[in-house]
Protein backbone atom coordinates (compact mmCIF):
# COMPACT_ATOMS: atom_id res chain seq x y z
CA UNK A 1 0.00 0.00 0.00
CA UNK A 2 1.26 3.46 -0.88
CA UNK A 3 2.56 5.76 1.81
CA UNK A 4 0.32 8.69 2.70
CA UNK A 5 2.82 11.01 1.02
CA UNK A 6 2.55 9.06 -2.23
CA UNK A 7 -1.21 8.89 -1.95
CA UNK A 8 -1.46 12.67 -1.67
CA UNK A 9 1.34 13.16 -4.18
CA UNK A 10 3.48 15.34 -1.91
CA UNK A 11 7.12 15.19 -0.87
CA UNK A 12 8.09 13.86 2.55
CA UNK A 13 9.14 17.36 3.64
CA UNK A 14 6.01 19.07 2.34
CA UNK A 15 4.58 21.81 4.53
CA UNK A 16 1.19 21.35 6.23
CA UNK A 17 -0.18 23.92 3.82
CA UNK A 18 1.03 21.94 0.81
CA UNK A 19 -0.47 18.78 2.28
CA UNK A 20 -3.82 20.46 2.84
CA UNK A 21 -3.82 21.89 -0.65
CA UNK A 22 -2.97 18.52 -2.20
CA UNK A 23 -5.69 16.83 -0.17
CA UNK A 24 -8.32 19.38 -1.13
CA UNK A 25 -7.51 18.96 -4.78
CA UNK A 26 -7.84 15.17 -4.60
CA UNK A 27 -10.92 15.27 -2.38
CA UNK A 28 -12.68 17.47 -4.91
CA UNK A 29 -11.66 15.09 -7.64
CA UNK A 30 -12.62 11.85 -5.93
CA UNK A 31 -15.47 12.70 -3.58
CA UNK A 32 -18.08 10.00 -4.33
CA UNK A 33 -20.86 12.57 -4.34
CA UNK A 34 -19.08 14.53 -7.03
CA UNK A 35 -18.66 11.30 -9.04
CA UNK A 36 -21.99 9.59 -8.54
CA UNK A 37 -21.46 7.03 -11.30
CA UNK A 38 -17.87 6.08 -10.48
CA UNK A 39 -17.70 3.19 -8.06
CA UNK A 40 -13.90 3.41 -7.88
CA UNK A 41 -14.12 6.98 -6.57
CA UNK A 42 -15.18 5.83 -3.14
CA UNK A 43 -12.04 3.72 -2.62
CA UNK A 44 -9.79 6.50 -3.90
CA UNK A 45 -11.48 9.07 -1.72
CA UNK A 46 -11.15 6.74 1.24
CA UNK A 47 -7.39 6.30 0.82
CA UNK A 48 -6.87 10.01 0.22
CA UNK A 49 -8.84 10.78 3.37
CA UNK A 50 -6.92 8.15 5.34
CA UNK A 51 -3.60 9.59 4.18
CA UNK A 52 -4.71 13.10 5.07
CA UNK A 53 -5.91 11.96 8.48
CA UNK A 54 -2.32 10.96 9.27
CA UNK A 55 -0.54 13.90 7.70
CA UNK A 56 -2.85 16.73 8.74
CA UNK A 57 -2.10 15.96 12.37
CA UNK A 58 1.56 16.84 13.03
CA UNK A 59 1.66 14.44 15.97
CA UNK A 60 0.46 11.49 13.88
CA UNK A 61 2.63 12.57 10.98
CA UNK A 62 5.71 12.44 13.27
CA UNK A 63 4.68 9.00 14.54
CA UNK A 64 4.33 7.78 10.97
CA UNK A 65 7.72 9.27 10.05
CA UNK A 66 9.28 7.41 13.01
CA UNK A 67 7.58 4.19 11.88
CA UNK A 68 5.37 3.99 14.98
CA UNK A 69 2.19 3.74 12.91
CA UNK A 70 1.70 2.55 9.36
CA UNK A 71 -0.39 4.05 6.59
CA UNK A 72 -3.46 2.39 8.06
CA UNK A 73 -2.78 4.21 11.31
CA UNK A 74 -5.99 6.14 11.37
CA UNK A 75 -9.01 3.97 10.92
CA UNK A 76 -11.60 5.48 8.63
CA UNK A 77 -15.13 5.05 9.80
CA UNK A 78 -17.51 3.40 7.39
CA UNK A 79 -19.78 6.02 5.92
CA UNK A 80 -22.41 6.29 3.30
CA UNK A 81 -22.58 9.01 0.69
CA UNK A 82 -25.45 11.08 -0.54
CA UNK A 83 -25.26 9.33 -3.91
CA UNK A 84 -26.39 6.13 -2.19
CA UNK A 85 -29.74 7.79 -1.44
CA UNK A 86 -30.14 10.40 -4.12
CA UNK A 87 -32.01 8.26 -6.61
CA UNK A 88 -34.01 6.05 -4.32
CA UNK A 89 -37.20 7.06 -2.69
CA UNK A 90 -35.28 7.95 0.47
CA UNK A 91 -35.67 11.67 0.15
CA UNK A 92 -39.16 11.40 -1.33
CA UNK A 93 -38.22 13.56 -4.32
CA UNK A 94 -37.46 16.58 -2.13
CA UNK A 95 -34.16 17.21 -3.88
CA UNK A 96 -35.36 16.49 -7.37
CA UNK A 97 -34.16 19.16 -9.82
CA UNK A 98 -34.94 18.70 -13.50
CA UNK A 99 -33.16 21.94 -14.44
CA UNK A 100 -30.57 19.91 -16.33
CA UNK A 101 -33.04 18.48 -18.81
CA UNK A 102 -36.06 20.77 -18.76
CA UNK A 103 -35.35 21.89 -22.32
CA UNK A 104 -35.22 18.38 -23.77
CA UNK A 105 -37.95 18.14 -26.34
CA UNK A 106 -40.31 20.90 -27.43
CA UNK A 107 -43.49 21.53 -25.53
CA UNK A 108 -45.45 19.30 -27.90
CA UNK A 109 -42.76 16.64 -27.97
CA UNK A 110 -43.88 13.22 -26.78
CA UNK A 111 -41.08 13.17 -24.21
CA UNK A 112 -41.03 16.78 -23.03
CA UNK A 113 -43.11 16.13 -19.93
CA UNK A 114 -40.81 13.24 -19.05
CA UNK A 115 -37.77 15.49 -19.11
CA UNK A 116 -39.29 18.64 -17.66
CA UNK A 117 -40.35 16.26 -14.95
CA UNK A 118 -42.03 18.78 -12.72
CA UNK A 119 -44.72 16.26 -12.00
CA UNK A 120 -42.36 13.48 -11.17
CA UNK A 121 -41.47 10.47 -13.22
CA UNK A 122 -44.91 9.10 -13.61
CA UNK A 123 -47.17 11.18 -15.74
CA UNK A 124 -49.96 12.35 -13.57
CA UNK A 125 -53.45 12.92 -14.75
CA UNK A 126 -55.03 16.12 -13.63
CA UNK A 127 -58.57 17.30 -13.47
CA UNK A 128 -59.41 20.23 -15.71
CA UNK A 129 -59.84 23.68 -14.23
CA UNK A 130 -63.17 24.79 -12.90
CA UNK A 131 -64.48 27.72 -14.90
CA UNK A 132 -66.48 30.42 -13.17
CA UNK A 133 -69.32 32.35 -14.71
CA UNK A 134 -71.91 34.81 -13.51
CA UNK A 135 -75.53 34.79 -14.51
CA UNK A 136 -77.97 37.61 -13.78
CA UNK A 137 -81.59 36.64 -13.39
CA UNK A 138 -84.72 38.47 -12.33
CA UNK A 139 -86.32 37.89 -8.97
CA UNK A 140 -89.32 36.21 -10.55
CA UNK A 141 -87.02 33.87 -12.51
CA UNK A 142 -85.29 33.10 -9.24
CA UNK A 143 -88.65 32.25 -7.70
CA UNK A 144 -89.96 30.17 -10.56
CA UNK A 145 -86.70 28.52 -11.66
CA UNK A 146 -86.59 26.71 -14.96
CA UNK A 147 -84.25 26.36 -17.93
CA UNK A 148 -81.87 29.18 -18.84
CA UNK A 149 -79.21 29.44 -21.52
CA UNK A 150 -75.87 30.90 -20.52
CA UNK A 151 -73.69 32.34 -23.25
CA UNK A 152 -70.03 31.85 -22.43
CA UNK A 153 -67.26 34.34 -23.27
CA UNK A 154 -66.15 32.09 -26.15
CA UNK A 155 -69.62 32.22 -27.71
CA UNK A 156 -70.62 28.69 -26.78
CA UNK A 157 -73.68 28.16 -24.65
CA UNK A 158 -74.58 26.17 -21.60
CA UNK A 159 -78.07 24.93 -20.80
CA UNK A 160 -78.77 25.51 -17.17
CA UNK A 161 -81.72 24.44 -15.07
CA UNK A 162 -82.28 27.00 -12.36
CA UNK A 163 -83.77 25.48 -9.24
CA UNK A 164 -86.89 27.35 -8.04
CA UNK A 165 -86.05 29.59 -5.08
CA UNK A 166 -82.39 30.05 -6.03
CA UNK A 167 -80.66 32.65 -3.89
CA UNK A 168 -78.48 35.58 -4.83
CA UNK A 169 -74.84 34.44 -4.76
CA UNK A 170 -75.73 30.75 -4.97
CA UNK A 171 -73.30 28.79 -7.16
CA UNK A 172 -74.63 26.14 -9.51
CA UNK A 173 -72.17 23.46 -10.58
CA UNK A 174 -72.34 21.86 -14.02
CA UNK A 175 -70.18 18.81 -13.74
CA UNK A 176 -67.72 18.25 -16.57
CA UNK A 177 -68.50 21.52 -18.35
CA UNK A 178 -65.29 23.31 -17.27
CA UNK A 179 -61.76 23.12 -18.64
CA UNK A 180 -60.58 19.86 -20.24
CA UNK A 181 -58.62 17.37 -18.11
CA UNK A 182 -54.90 16.67 -18.63
CA UNK A 183 -53.59 13.27 -19.65
CA UNK A 184 -57.01 11.72 -19.55
CA UNK A 185 -58.01 13.31 -16.28
CA UNK A 186 -61.64 14.34 -15.83
CA UNK A 187 -62.88 17.68 -17.15
CA UNK A 188 -63.42 20.45 -14.66
CA UNK A 189 -66.78 21.87 -13.72
CA UNK A 190 -68.52 25.05 -14.76
CA UNK A 191 -69.42 27.08 -11.70
CA UNK A 192 -72.20 29.55 -12.30
CA UNK A 193 -72.79 32.18 -9.69
CA UNK A 194 -76.35 33.41 -9.70
CA UNK A 195 -76.90 37.13 -9.29
CA UNK A 196 -80.50 38.00 -8.60
CA UNK A 197 -81.26 41.49 -9.88
CA UNK A 198 -83.15 43.83 -7.56
CA UNK A 199 -86.85 44.00 -8.28
CA UNK A 200 -88.96 47.17 -8.46
CA UNK A 201 -91.76 45.71 -6.35
CA UNK A 202 -90.53 42.75 -4.38
CA UNK A 203 -87.87 42.47 -1.73
CA UNK A 204 -86.68 39.04 -0.77
CA UNK A 205 -86.39 38.21 2.91
CA UNK A 206 -85.21 34.62 3.22
CA UNK A 207 -87.99 32.43 1.92
CA UNK A 208 -90.43 35.27 2.34
CA UNK A 209 -91.05 38.17 0.04
CA UNK A 210 -92.09 41.67 1.01
CA UNK A 211 -94.00 44.25 -0.98
CA UNK A 212 -95.40 47.66 -0.22
CA UNK A 213 -98.86 48.42 -1.62
CA UNK A 214 -100.45 51.86 -1.63
CA UNK A 215 -104.10 52.17 -0.65
CA UNK A 216 -106.40 55.14 -0.76
CA UNK A 217 -107.88 56.80 2.31
CA UNK A 218 -111.24 55.44 1.32
CA UNK A 219 -109.90 51.88 1.13
CA UNK A 220 -108.18 52.40 4.46
CA UNK A 221 -111.32 53.61 6.19
CA UNK A 222 -113.94 51.47 4.56
CA UNK A 223 -111.92 48.44 3.59
CA UNK A 224 -112.34 46.56 0.32
CA UNK A 225 -110.78 44.26 -2.20
CA UNK A 226 -107.53 45.21 -3.92
CA UNK A 227 -105.28 43.49 -6.46
CA UNK A 228 -101.85 42.58 -5.14
CA UNK A 229 -99.09 41.25 -7.38
CA UNK A 230 -97.34 38.11 -6.19
CA UNK A 231 -94.44 36.13 -7.67
CA UNK A 232 -97.03 33.87 -9.27
CA UNK A 233 -99.41 36.52 -10.56
CA UNK A 234 -101.88 38.99 -9.09
CA UNK A 235 -104.28 37.89 -6.38
CA UNK A 236 -107.26 39.62 -4.82
CA UNK A 237 -106.74 40.66 -1.21
CA UNK A 238 -109.24 42.09 1.25
CA UNK A 239 -108.15 45.21 3.08
CA UNK A 240 -110.01 45.26 6.41
CA UNK A 241 -111.99 48.38 7.26
CA UNK A 242 -110.16 50.90 9.45
CA UNK A 243 -106.65 49.96 8.31
CA UNK A 244 -103.69 52.12 9.33
CA UNK A 245 -100.66 52.79 7.16
CA UNK A 246 -97.95 50.17 7.86
CA UNK A 247 -100.40 47.36 8.52
CA UNK A 248 -98.96 44.09 7.24
CA UNK A 249 -101.06 41.43 5.60
CA UNK A 250 -99.71 37.95 5.20
CA UNK A 251 -100.34 35.95 2.02
CA UNK A 252 -99.57 32.45 3.10
CA UNK A 253 -97.48 30.33 0.72
CA UNK A 254 -96.89 33.16 -1.76
CA UNK A 255 -93.16 33.47 -0.99
CA UNK A 256 -90.18 31.60 -2.38
CA UNK A 257 -89.99 27.83 -2.54
CA UNK A 258 -87.97 26.66 0.46
CA UNK A 259 -85.70 23.67 0.93
CA UNK A 260 -88.35 21.65 2.69
CA UNK A 261 -90.62 21.59 -0.35
CA UNK A 262 -92.94 24.32 0.96
CA UNK A 263 -93.12 28.00 0.31
CA UNK A 264 -92.45 31.11 2.30
CA UNK A 265 -95.07 33.82 2.65
CA UNK A 266 -95.63 37.17 1.08
CA UNK A 267 -95.96 40.10 3.44
CA UNK A 268 -97.88 43.07 2.13
CA UNK A 269 -97.26 46.38 3.86
CA UNK A 270 -100.11 48.79 3.27
CA UNK A 271 -99.40 52.45 2.87
CA UNK A 272 -102.12 55.08 2.78
CA UNK A 273 -101.58 57.51 -0.06
CA UNK A 274 -103.48 60.76 -0.48
CA UNK A 275 -104.44 62.14 -3.89
CA UNK A 276 -101.68 63.99 -5.69
CA UNK A 277 -103.49 67.29 -5.53
CA UNK A 278 -105.30 68.63 -2.43
CA UNK A 279 -108.97 67.75 -2.46
CA UNK A 280 -111.19 70.60 -1.16
CA UNK A 281 -113.98 68.20 -0.37
CA UNK A 282 -111.72 66.01 1.72
CA UNK A 283 -110.39 69.06 3.54
CA UNK A 284 -113.94 70.21 4.19
CA UNK A 285 -114.82 66.78 5.57
CA UNK A 286 -111.80 66.69 7.82
CA UNK A 287 -112.60 70.06 9.33
CA UNK A 288 -116.11 68.88 10.09
CA UNK A 289 -115.00 65.50 11.46
CA UNK A 290 -115.43 65.72 15.20
CA UNK A 291 -113.79 62.39 16.12
CA UNK A 292 -110.74 63.34 14.15
CA UNK A 293 -110.10 66.37 16.33
CA UNK A 294 -109.95 64.31 19.49
CA UNK A 295 -107.86 61.40 18.16
CA UNK A 296 -104.11 61.74 18.69
CA UNK A 297 -102.25 58.53 17.61
CA UNK A 298 -99.08 59.76 19.34
CA UNK A 299 -100.83 59.45 22.67
CA UNK A 300 -101.36 55.91 23.73
Amino acid sequence: MASPYETLGVKQDASQKEIQSAYRKLAKKYHPDLNPGDSAAEQKFKSVSAAYAILEDEDKRAKFDRGEIDENGVEQAQRSYYRDYAQGGDAGGRYRNAGGSADFGDADDLFSSFFSGTRGRRQQTARGDDLQFKLEISLSDAARGGPKTVTLPGGSTLELRIPPGVRDGQVLRLRGRGGPGFNGGPDGDALIEIQVLPDKLFVRDGDNVRIEIPISVREAVLGGKIEVPTLSGAVSVTVPANTSSGRILRLSGKGFPNRHGGHGDQFVTLKIVLPNTPDPQLEEFMRGWEGGGNFNPRRA
Partner: protein
Protein backbone atom coordinates in the same frame (compact mmCIF):
# COMPACT_ATOMS: atom_id res chain seq x y z
CA UNK B 1 -34.90 11.76 13.37
CA UNK B 2 -35.65 15.30 14.50
CA UNK B 3 -33.41 18.34 14.10
CA UNK B 4 -31.68 17.87 17.46
CA UNK B 5 -30.70 14.27 16.66
CA UNK B 6 -29.61 15.34 13.18
CA UNK B 7 -27.32 18.01 14.63
CA UNK B 8 -25.93 15.61 17.22
CA UNK B 9 -24.98 13.01 14.59
CA UNK B 10 -23.27 15.57 12.35
CA UNK B 11 -21.84 17.51 15.31
CA UNK B 12 -23.21 20.82 14.10
CA UNK B 13 -25.11 23.61 15.83
CA UNK B 14 -28.85 23.90 15.32
CA UNK B 15 -28.21 27.41 13.98
CA UNK B 16 -26.09 25.83 11.26
CA UNK B 17 -28.85 23.40 10.36
CA UNK B 18 -31.36 26.25 10.30
CA UNK B 19 -29.14 28.05 7.83
CA UNK B 20 -28.85 24.95 5.65
CA UNK B 21 -32.62 24.52 5.67
CA UNK B 22 -33.09 28.21 4.90
CA UNK B 23 -30.74 27.86 1.92
CA UNK B 24 -32.64 24.69 0.95
CA UNK B 25 -29.45 22.66 0.99
CA UNK B 26 -31.38 20.39 3.31
CA UNK B 27 -35.12 20.01 2.86
CA UNK B 28 -36.64 18.14 5.80
CA UNK B 29 -39.64 15.93 5.23
CA UNK B 30 -42.94 16.23 7.02
CA UNK B 31 -44.81 19.46 7.57
CA UNK B 32 -44.11 22.46 9.74
CA UNK B 33 -45.52 20.80 12.80
CA UNK B 34 -43.32 17.68 12.61
CA UNK B 35 -40.17 18.01 10.49
CA UNK B 36 -38.02 14.92 10.16
CA UNK B 37 -34.63 14.12 8.71
CA UNK B 38 -33.76 10.79 7.10
CA UNK B 39 -30.58 8.98 6.07
CA UNK B 40 -30.56 10.81 2.75
CA UNK B 41 -30.55 14.16 4.57
CA UNK B 42 -27.79 12.93 6.85
CA UNK B 43 -25.62 11.81 3.91
CA UNK B 44 -26.32 15.13 2.26
CA UNK B 45 -25.28 16.91 5.43
CA UNK B 46 -21.98 14.99 5.37
CA UNK B 47 -21.42 16.10 1.78
CA UNK B 48 -22.02 19.72 2.80
CA UNK B 49 -19.56 19.35 5.69
CA UNK B 50 -16.98 17.77 3.35
CA UNK B 51 -17.35 20.70 0.98
CA UNK B 52 -17.13 23.34 3.70
CA UNK B 53 -14.49 21.81 5.91
CA UNK B 54 -12.31 19.49 3.86
CA UNK B 55 -12.45 21.05 0.42
CA UNK B 56 -12.39 24.70 1.36
CA UNK B 57 -15.58 25.46 -0.57
CA UNK B 58 -17.36 28.56 0.70
CA UNK B 59 -21.13 28.96 1.21
CA UNK B 60 -21.72 30.27 -2.29
CA UNK B 61 -19.76 27.31 -3.66
CA UNK B 62 -21.84 24.85 -1.65
CA UNK B 63 -24.96 26.43 -3.09
CA UNK B 64 -23.72 25.84 -6.62
CA UNK B 65 -22.48 22.34 -5.87
CA UNK B 66 -25.66 21.02 -4.25
CA UNK B 67 -27.75 22.48 -7.06
CA UNK B 68 -25.61 20.81 -9.70
CA UNK B 69 -25.50 17.56 -7.71
CA UNK B 70 -29.30 17.56 -7.60
CA UNK B 71 -29.51 18.21 -11.32
CA UNK B 72 -26.98 15.47 -11.94
CA UNK B 73 -28.92 12.90 -9.94
CA UNK B 74 -32.16 13.86 -11.63
CA UNK B 75 -30.49 13.50 -15.03
CA UNK B 76 -29.04 10.13 -13.99
CA UNK B 77 -32.46 9.01 -12.89
CA UNK B 78 -34.01 10.12 -16.19
CA UNK B 79 -31.19 8.50 -18.14
CA UNK B 80 -31.72 5.26 -16.24
CA UNK B 81 -35.45 5.37 -17.00
CA UNK B 82 -34.69 5.91 -20.68
CA UNK B 83 -32.30 2.96 -20.63
CA UNK B 84 -34.88 0.80 -18.87
CA UNK B 85 -37.49 1.80 -21.44
CA UNK B 86 -35.14 0.99 -24.31
CA UNK B 87 -34.41 -2.42 -22.81
CA UNK B 88 -38.10 -3.16 -22.83
CA UNK B 89 -38.32 -2.54 -26.58
CA UNK B 90 -38.15 -5.10 -29.29
CA UNK B 91 -34.56 -6.05 -30.16
CA UNK B 92 -34.88 -4.51 -33.64
CA UNK B 93 -35.88 -1.20 -32.06
CA UNK B 94 -32.91 -1.45 -29.70
CA UNK B 95 -30.55 -2.11 -32.60
CA UNK B 96 -31.86 0.77 -34.64
CA UNK B 97 -31.48 3.12 -31.64
CA UNK B 98 -27.91 1.89 -31.21
CA UNK B 99 -27.18 2.58 -34.89
CA UNK B 100 -28.65 6.08 -34.57
CA UNK B 101 -26.45 6.76 -31.53
CA UNK B 102 -23.36 5.45 -33.28
CA UNK B 103 -24.04 7.74 -36.19
CA UNK B 104 -24.08 10.83 -33.95
Amino acid sequence: MNDIEFCRVLEIETATLNLWVEERWIIPGGDHGMLYYGDADLARGRLILDLLKNMGVNDAGVDVVVDLVDQLHTLREQMRSVMDAIRQQDVTVQRSLRRALDAM
